[in-house]
Each structure stands twice: as structure tokens, then as C-alpha cells.
Amino acid sequence: MSAVLSVTSLRKQYGATVAVDGISFEVRRREIVGLLGPNGAGKTTTINMILGVLAPDSGAVLIDGMDLAAHRSHALERTNFAAVYSPLPGNLTVLQNLRFFGLIYGVADLTARIEAVLTQFDLDKFRHTRCGVLSSGEQTRVSLAKAMLNHPNLLLLDEPTASLDPSVARDIREKIREFTLRGQGGVLWTSHNMNEVEEVCDRVLFLSRGKILLEGNPRQLPAAHGKATLEELFIAVAREPLTLGPE
């Protein structure tokens, strides 16, 4: 499987604080990679650098083999994202938001594509509703619909199910799984729900203090490090990162 995302020696420092410390990893086609770690580990900083809204101090981001720094627009045409902390403008309706972002991403046959994602995310009845008056779960679905609009090769999801009830969250996980199974896209996913990560992710990266400490299959990694569950492993990484460093 070829890589849709290739991150090499990425580093970002704010004053004396090293937020991301020379990390390298890949996301391959049809793969869901979980980016895990405690608060402040550097997950969102990493995602922001991949989205081109934060310039790294050093290192490179290649999306579909394209250098983000040199070919920003072309690289981002192949990317999309949804983050719980970045809802779409509440003063536009669902349909208006999708049309606006669809034009920016250069989506072909936009009207048909909008109809498809409205159906896919069960948003048809909200098409003329302003996003600001939707529930947080509905807003998350709109964000995901926008994220899928351009058939991205690289999908970045920062805690996409954080505000969803278990039933809707499961439905969303299935849709994202389907996205990787049917298409050519890869997903980088952050979440604090370890059950979800075990269910969805093909591979996880544990980030702590800006470094990748562990990498592997989320269903095998806990046992390999003497832990019963992924949640226990997560807690160990958060509390005692030095005991779990790369071998």
C-alpha cells in the first residue's frame, strides 16, 4: 500500500516548549491510523501542521507524494478534516456550508455530491437549517459531510465522535470504515476513546511530549507491553512515558 501521508522529522517548538519533536510516520491507502496521547502530547499540533495552518520549524509533510510546503493548494485539494473544536459557520445553512466548501475544494458535479453526503449523513431534513442551531451531534455530522465532500485521499479527524451518542458514534465509525474500504483514502484519527480506537484503527501511534513512543496494532500492542487493555496502556503512556520509550 502506498502512503497518502508521509511525515518526516516534523518538529515544532513554542519558546522553550517542544510541542512536536522530530516525529516521522506514514498513513497508507485504506488505512486508519490512530494518533493517541494525553492532552498536550502534540496531536493537534501535528494535525495543524499537516493541514498547513501551522508551519513546522523543520521536517516535511508529503500528501499523496506532494510536498505541502511547495504545493500547498494541490496537496490540500486531496485532504479534508473534521475537528470537534472547529464547527462550520453557524450563520450559514447546511446546504450553504456544503456549497461554499465544495467550491473551495473544487468538487466536481457539486450539486450531486452534496445530495450524496446529505443522504449519507442523514442530514437531508436539516438542509435549510442554520448550522448554529443544530445539536452538537448534528453539527459533527455536518462537519463530517463537509470532510467527505471532496473524496479526500487523506482524511484528518480530530476526536470526530467526541460529542456523539453511542449509537450515532457507531454509525459514524462504520461510515469512516466504509470510506477506507471502498475508496483510496487513508485516515489519521485522534480519539480518547480507546474502545473506539481498538474497533476502528488498523494501527496506532502513541504520542507523548511530542515524540512517538509506541506504534503498532491496537489489538496487540497492550499485551506486548504487559497491559490488559489499550486504555491501561494509554494511562501508562500518560503517566510514565519514560518506561515505555522506543526499544
Binding site: 513554542y14 493537534t44 499540533t45 495543524n48 493541514l51 498547513g52 495552518v53 501551522l54 508551519a55 500547498r72 493548494s73 494541490h74 490540500l76 485539494e77 485532504t79 478534516f81 475537528a83 472547529s86 462550520l88 459557520p89 453557524g90 450563520n91 450559514l92 445553512t93 450553504q96 456549497r99 461554499f100 466548501f101 467550491l103 473551495i104 475544494y105 473544487g106
Partner: protein, 267 residues
Amino acid sequence: MNPKRTGAIVLRQFYLLRGSPARILPMFAWVAIDIVLWGFITRYLNTVASSGFNFIPAMLGAVLLWDFLVRVMQGITTAFFEDVWSRNFLNIFATPLSISEYVGGLVLSSIATSGVGLAAMLLLATTVFGLSFFVYGLLLVPFLLVLFLFGVALGVFGCAVVLRLGPSAEWLIWPVPALLSPLACVFYPLSALPVPMQYIARVLPPSWVFEAMRKVVEGGSPAPLALLWGSGLAVFYILLAGWFFTRIYRHAVRSGLIARYSAESVS
């Protein structure tokens, strides 16, 4: 530059205007009030002045042209503030949209909104107060063009300041036209200013326009170089504002400001 992306910014502004009387009303209401107020003032001045000088083309025309510049500037800044108010920077700047496409969209939005304001002002000034633009002749075109270009420069500069200093800095931007108006010589000739202020006025494109306009109203013709200077200065300020915005944007991307833009995160 991708015209579809630039068009998306204009379309977004259209969506916002269409659904919001609070956004539509200020496009023409405040400028109409200005024209009514100055229309009566100039009528009154015409009755009390013994010189026989017609204040309508000199003062009401000046108000109209100045308000046009202000509308152009605010058309750009308010379109930008829509992204500030809806905390949309991460969504916008994580897309393929380039800075030139984004700023181009803001300028196009402003052309549409300031055009509505200009039409309302023209309608009132000509039908109610008898302002005739034949007085200015073809020179009206360069007058409007220079003021438009300088309005764009001020708008882009204002957006950059708010991007750098945070949402609350919009309160610094709203009064910018009022701060510049004494130096722009909207109502009085450049010679009325103290000499040090004249030096500042000479580097502001509107002062060249209003000097030329008064010359025309008095029956003379402005020196061709005067409007050329005004145009040259306006183009210079647009380039400067574009450079300034790009520099501030790059700083925001380096510092992480774009990704965590809010009143609390910027100081």
C-alpha cells in the same frame, strides 16, 4: 488564482446578506442618512452664503465620494470579520484556498456591497438635492477609481491588523476613516491645514481627489499630474497592504495563531 474559490467567498457573503436584514440595512441606510444630513446643510449654506458659491457639488459631492471610500473599506473588513465572528479561520485556511484568492473574494464582495451604497447615495443626491454629476464630467471616473483603490488598501490593512491583534482589534479599525478624514481634505482645501499636516495629506490619495474635485467645481481643470499622483499613491498603498497582509498571515501560520485564533489567544 482559481476563480471558483474566489467566487466561493463572494457567494458566502451573498448567502449571509440574503438571510439577514441586519447586514443589508447598513449597506445603504447610513450613507443615505449622511446624504440627507449634508443635503440639508448644503441647501442651508446656499441660502446664507452671499458669494453665490454652490455648496452642493462641493460639499454634498465630497460626502458622497468619501462615503463611497468608507463603504469600500468596510465592505472588505466586514466580509473578513464574518470569518472572525464565526471562528472560521481553521476551516477556511486549512483548504486549498490561497491568500490571493481569499483577499480577491473579499474585494469582489466589497465591490458588490459598496456598489449598492453608491447607487443609494446617487439616487438620493440627484433626485432630492439636485446634485448633478455632469459638473465633474468624465473626471468622476478617476475620482471613484482612486478612492476605490485606496478603500481596498485600507480594508486589506484593517484585516491584517485584526488578524495580528485579535478579534477585539476590530474596534481599532472602525474609526480609521474618521481618523483619516481631517487629513484627506474632504471639505476644505489642502492649504487650510497647518504645514506639517499638509505633508501628511499629500501622501494620502483622497486629498488629491478632493483637491481636483474642488478645482472642477470652481470651473477650472485639475492638473493631470495631480490625479496621476493620486492613482500612483493608491496603487502603492494596495501593494503595501497586500504585502502587509501576507506578512501577518505568514507570521500567524508560523506562530500557530490561525489554528487557535480567538480573543483570548491573541495579545
